[in-house]
């Protein structure tokens, strides 16, 4: 099952500056070879259910290794049986309808 997901992974107790931790998580996604796009509150991901979940889990491990005692994440997942979905397809479809 192919999914378009959105993930936000937040280290708690690792200071107020999150950007280097988020960059470490982007590198996990890059290494996994998934299509992704960073935005201001998370990262869109396209891949199989297992690939996406594996990446989030690996981000938790990496942030704990970087010193965060707690990691909270929010994952949004969309599945569809009536069509193939893609990260760009979801965006394009809306943009074509903006008047």
């Amino acid at each position: 099952m192919r999914v378009v997901a959105d993930i936000n992974v937040t280290p708690i107790g690792a200071g107020a500056s999150l950007s280097s931790h988020i960059a470490a998580c982007e590198e996990v996604i890059e290494e996994a070879g998934l299509k992704y796009r960073l935005h201001a509150h998370g990262t869109n991901l396209e891949g199989s259910w297992e690939e996406v979940m594996q990446v989030v889990r690996r981000c938790h491990d990496v942030l704990h290794e970087r010193g965060a005692p707690r990691v909270d994440s929010t994952i949004r997942i969309a599945t569809a049986t009536d069509k193939d979905q893609s990260l760009e397809g979801r965006i394009d479809k809306v943009e074509r309808k903006i008047g």
Copy 2:
């Protein structure tokens, strides 16, 4: 890794009444034997990372089988390396501090 999660699984294109679909997802959780607590915008779950993710995936399958062409879900996951977490522990800890 033991996690305390929160899941919200929403069928799209299956009408305006969601309660019977949500109840079908609660039965998936019940069958999986996980500790859970329903609230007004989702369900708290306690289990291993794999158990929680397996339950969410099974909810997507069940809602698609029940006729929803699209299913969106939001999963929140908290992991901690500095203590054991439990669903009730997280709630009790806050309640004891309310003045």
Copy 3:
């Protein structure tokens, strides 16, 4: 417009222990006189749109005053035109349908 909301307010850069901060936010809700129920990943709230939003804003202010340089929150809001909604009504409706 009456809404059933769910809020999660997370202070960033205020250490790893969040429970006292969350308790301070529960006191804001209590003072506002809204019906609420704490769960393991947030708090369900029932009130008018304005009341709920006012409470979240006040929680941000209080957590900044308590020393958090950054505060992230997630608010879920459900509105309905076909029925009156209540915090308990949403839970009861699902529970009656669990087989």
Copy 4:
């Protein structure tokens, strides 16, 4: 207080195709004159707390007028007292740190 927010507004009971409804909500944002960027699971917004909340509320109204009996939305809001935040600033800061 300037905020960088992320909103996802989902009409329930208005069929399986959401793109035209989401486009209607983008037009609300456009009319409000806020800086925004659509992604595959929502829209990043930059503005004052009041402006952002007003836009979300107007999206609920517009989707109800378009026939959705229920509308669910998720709003993420980040506030900071230690720096000025911007939509692009949050993205750039992470991108500069990806190795």
